[in-house]
């Protein structure tokens, strides 16, 4: 399966046909009421009292839900952590971050709900707060969850290989502390939920722009004390982006459901942007202490990493995914066999964290890839040379990493060389940093990064959060599966039902073309049902469009279903024409004989006969018009006693080069060129893949230079609007973007495809940081944290620039 003439965007046509349906557009039930959430202005405080009388007296106000009912009606959300706090959808007796829900007002419309919200008087007793991850680990730190006696939710020690031996044998050992910031690739559409609590069942229905994994629904059902089968979730066909953010929708689904229960009618809540910035979800910020052991020839020997994740006020599933999701690819694309990891998840008085595009890999690779540049510098070698020396070679693949990952396919040196070529890397190197012309108005820098891009998470990785002895053998969480259904109607029409609940990835377009290819028909003849309804479509806890899993897992289930339908058509035709099915094939919408091109039936004929002659069909054809394709990723296992696990279904690869220019006077940082080369296996749709690479670049660029969720030391939130939280516009994108790919199909997926969605989001922050480091190294600047802002460069350079004329 290779590139083909790609159909245009189905999703886009719906939009311009004015048929799009986003959550805010829906009124699926009569008598919808509207919610507004009362939120904490404090980072840490005890709730003394809540007075809702004035709110309830306002015309149009139906109810006010507070922590009292939330505690009575629900349970804390489950999470895989040794010492989790008790996390409810609403503060019970204490608030632990600015923006935490304290009460929910339900009224006839949002305007009135907000009027009522503003009359609710909450009396707080402020408590000392802590927002810094290292400070929160100190014994003197304010404790968020008193019952735990500590803010450390997880403290795991993982050891692979013989770390002590390689560190003592190394020519060079150095350590560095790196800080990866807190930011979120916020989707433009905020959270939106319609919840209807049916008291007699109990049963709860949701319409929500929820983003899988659907394992979160099990967490939600548990918290609401409702059987999973009584919890229905409908996702509209159009979801305005997620990038991981909308996985953390589920606590608000619980809150809206309880608000509906209290109000006695269906409730709609559309989050506003201020709520989104302060209290939806954010990427995890991390401090890493990294120690590197290497030989003088540039050979990496081993790493020691202390990962300190700031998971916010409550550790919330799918955290601690940020610590463990990349476990199989902890060593990136390098042949390193000795690693020691101390993985810590720490709770502080900021918004709870969660997945963000490139989840965990951004945080994990940033220190490693910065340190490789540092190593190269110390050894007087080029960073590209050091990388090429340490990359896993194509002949080593399939390659089992020391942490358990199975790198299924790839040629990392080739992709890396391609990026170096396309960027003219070696020549650029001659004129960057101190080598640039002294009369230039900018310092130039070039930097690179490579990344293994894990796609299709193995649920099993999360149990590495527990010591082997503490894992529950009776509940072995493992695997990654997806199901797709296809129907053939009586006129030959094909309908494909997706269960991946997309949010902008063009899956309808891709699904139609995959099925059309399998049946030799036009994409336009395939109808794809998008969105999701857990009440009527098959799903598993691993369903969804997360961890870049559509190309390898989701699309493979489409191919599996299409192949099954194809097989059914062959069998049916063989039956109708009384010939041998193995001598038939599908060609251009017809099922024809390989021996006699005249002998055959059109898809339409076969469909008609299958539907209209059910009374005469043999049993093996009775359900031939309805197929279900399930794809279960292979080679996914449960963590072993050595904490090794193949944490993802397939592993893609990215090699990037960034070129930056820094204005010598304003310290403005511009990425002038960005070159990204991918090995995502087979490309299912070239334009969609390109769109994912470019979108990943945007988010990586944002994390490198612009976006950061900032708090004061005492937990006041500083970036509450889009005037302060700086989302890049077209004008901040690199002027020259080159996207290229090589194709090494994975044997692990029926599509041969690996992930495309997260790739550049992982590499761009690093490549840009490395380029900036290259540009300013000669000035003595160290780059160990993101985002890189002109003001931060000034903090290091300022004294030298102030007052004295700089070059122009």
């Amino acid at each position: 399966m290779n590139e083909f003439t790609a159909p245009s965007s189905t999703e886009g046509r719906r939009l311009f046909d004015l048929q799009a349906q986003y959550i805010a557009d829906l009124t699926p039930l009569p008598n919808l009421a509207h919610a507004a959430v009362v939120r904490s202005p404090y980072a840490h405080a005890r709730i003394r009292s809540i007075d809702s009388r004035a709110a309830l007296a306002l015309p149009g106000v139906m109810s006010v839900l507070t922590g009292r009912e939330v505690q009575e009606w629900s349970r804390p959300f489950a999470v895989a952590a040794e010492r989790p706090g008790r996390y409810y959808s609403c503060a019970i007796d204490k608030v632990r971050y600015v923006g935490e829900p304290v009460a929910v007002v339900v009224a006839t419309n949002r305007y009135i709900a907000e009027d009522a919200r503003d009359t609710i008087e909450v009396e707080y007793e402020p408590l000392p707060a802590v927002v810094d991850v290292e400070a929160a680990m100190q014994s003197s730190a304010p404790i968020l969850h008193e019952e735990l006696g500590t803010n450390v939710a997880i403290d795991r020690q993982l050891t692979y290989g013989d770390v002590a031996a390689v560190f003592s044998a190394a020519d060079i050992v150095f350590s560095q502390r790196y800080v990866f910031p807190r930011y979120q690739s916020f989707p433009l559409e905020t959270y939106g939920i319609i919840a209807s609590w049916n008291p007699s069942a109990p049963q709860v229905s949701f319409w929500a722009n929820f983003h899988g994994p659907y394992s979160m629904l099990a967490v939600l059902a548990g918290a609401l004390r409702v059987p999973l089968s009584k919890l229905r979730v409908v996702t509209p066909p159009d979801v305005g982006g997620s990038f991981g953010n909308k996985i953390a929708l589920y606590p608000y689904m619980a809150l809206t459901a309880l608000a509906s229960r209290k109000a006695g009618r269906p409730v709609k809540w559309i989050e506003d942007r201020l709520e989104s910035l302060s209290a939806s979800s954010t990427g995890t910020d991390r401090v890493t202490e990294l120690e590197v052991a290497a030989r003088n020839d540039g050979q990496l020997l081993g790493l020691k990493m202390r990962l300190m994740d700031n998971v916010g006020a409550y550790i919330r599933a799918p955290e601690p995914g940020c610590l463990f999701r990349p476990i199989g690819n902890f060593m990136n694309a390098y042949k390193i066999e000795h690693l020691e990891v101390n993985a810590l998840a720490v709770m502080t008085n900021v918004c709870p964290s969660g997945p963000n595009r490139g989840y965990a890999c951004q945080q994990h690779y940033f220190p490693i890839e910065r340190a490789i540049d540092e190593l190269a510098l110390r050894l007087g070698k080029d960073p590209a040379t050091v990388r090429l020396r340490n990359l896993i070679q194509p002949q080593d693949i399939p390659y089992r990493t020391v942490t358990g990952g199975l790198y299924d396919s790839g040629d990392y040196p080739r992709a890396t060389q391609r990026a170096l070529e396309l960027s003219n890397y070696w020549q650029l190197r001659q004129s960057t940093g101190a080598a640039g012309p002294s009369d230039a108005s900018v310092w130039r820098g070039v930097g690179m990064a490579v990344a293994i891009d894990p796609s299709g998470s193995n649920m099993g990785y999360i149990d590495v959060s527990k010591k082997a002895a503490q894992r529950r053998p009776n509940l072995v969480r493992v695997g990654s599966a997806q199901t797709t259904r296809i129907y053939l109607d009586a006129t030959g029409g094909i309908t494909v039902e997706l269960e991946t609940a997309a949010h902008g990835q063009g899956q309808e377009t891709t699904a139609a073309s995959l099925v059309a290819q399998a049946l030799g028909i036009a994409s336009a003849d395939v109808t794809v049902v998008a969105g999701m309804d857990t009440g009527s479509r098959p799903w598993s806890v691993s369903s969804g469009s997360y961890s870049s899993r559509f190309g390898a897992v989701g699309a493979s289930s489409i191919v599996a279903a299409a192949r099954q339908l194809q097989e059914n058509l062959l069998q049916a035709t063989a039956y109708f024409l009384e010939c041998d099915a193995s001598r038939l094939h599908v060609q251009a919408g017809r099922i024809v004989s390989l021996d006699d091109a005249q002998l055959g039936l059109s898809l339409k004929d076969v469909a008609a006969r299958l539907h209209w002659s059910t009374g005469t069909l043999p049993s093996h054809l009775e359900t031939a018009t309805q197929v279900e394709g399930t794809f279960v990723a292979s080679e996914l296992d449960y963590p072993n006693e050595l904490d090794q696990v193949n944490s993802s279904a397939v592993y893609a690869f990215t090699a990037d080069v960034a070129v930056v220019e820094i204005d010598k006077e304003t310290l403005d940082i511009r990425v002038t060129d960005y070159i990204t080369v991918h090995d995502a296996g087979n490309i299912l749709h070239p334009q969609i893949a390109r769109g994912q690479f470019a979108g990943g670049l945007l988010h990586g660029l944002a994390g490198a230079l612009y976006e950061e969720l900032r708090y004061t030391e005492t937990g006041d939130f500083l970036t509450g609007t889009l005037m302060d939280y700086l989302c890049p516009t077209v004008n901040e994108m690199p002027g020259n973007i080159v996207m290229d790919h090589i194709v090494l199909p994975t044997p692990q997926a029926l599509t041969g495809a690996k992930g495309v969605g997260e790739s550049t989001a992982q590499t761009a922050p690093i490549a840009i940081a490395n380029a900036v480091a290259d540009a300013v190294r000669h000035l003595g600047l160290e780059i160990t944290e993101l985002p890189l802002t002109p003001d931060k460069l000034w903090q290091q350079l300022g004294a030298r620039l102030a007052g004295e004329p700089a070059c122009t």
């Binding site: 999703e11 311009f16 159009d238 982006g241 942007r273 334009q687 889009l722 077209v730 994108m733 973007i737």
Partner: protein, 160 residues
């Protein structure tokens, strides 16, 4: 001249007269979505930064979240619903669909309306800088803008 809390708003949305009794604080964006059936108007930030709610007011692109519905009295409002009735609107739609100049689609109507205005009104030639200035007033979180710029340039080149 009396202060009002509620008032009848009479305006023209996409050429159709609309008359509704509204709370005066209702934003134009909410009015268009809830009363005039224009769900292409998307609320991305409600403070004028993201551009998703952009509509044409007497032909000029403005943020509908930064305007009260009562201010629309006596003016003509055009949303994507209206623009798609025009040839130029259809051309824009085709370019976006074929270039994949959208992913989640939430920002798209705003981009399309600003581009519509540019293509309708800008004197020849439309420069790359004009395109960047026009698109710069809108935030897209999905595409990295690459495909949107390509669609815009294609539309510019086709303009005639």
């Amino acid at each position: 001249m009396q202060p009002q809390r509620r008032t009848i708003v009479t305006t023209a949305v996409n050429g159709t007269p609309v008359e509704t009794l509204l709370d005066v604080r209702t934003t134009l964006a909410d009015f268009l979505r809830e009363e005039a059936g224009c769900t292409s108007v998307h609320l991305g930030c409600e403070h004028g930064v993201c551009g998703a709610c952009t509509v044409l007011l007497d032909g000029l692109p403005v943020r509908s979240c930064l305007r009260l519905a009562v201010q629309a009295v006596g003016h003509e409002i055009t949303t994507l619903e209206g623009v798609m009735q025009t040839e130029r609107g259809k051309t824009i739609g085709r370019a976006f669909v074929e270039q994949f100049a959208m992913q989640c689609g939430f920002c798209t109507a705003g981009f399309a309306l600003s581009l519509y205005h540019l293509l309708e009104n800008a004197p020849e030639p439309i420069t790359d800088q004009d395109i960047h200035e026009t698109l710069g007033g809108h935030i897209c979180r999905c595409t990295g803008y690459v495909s949107i710029v390509e669609a815009a340039k294609r539309l510019r080149d086709q303009r005639g």
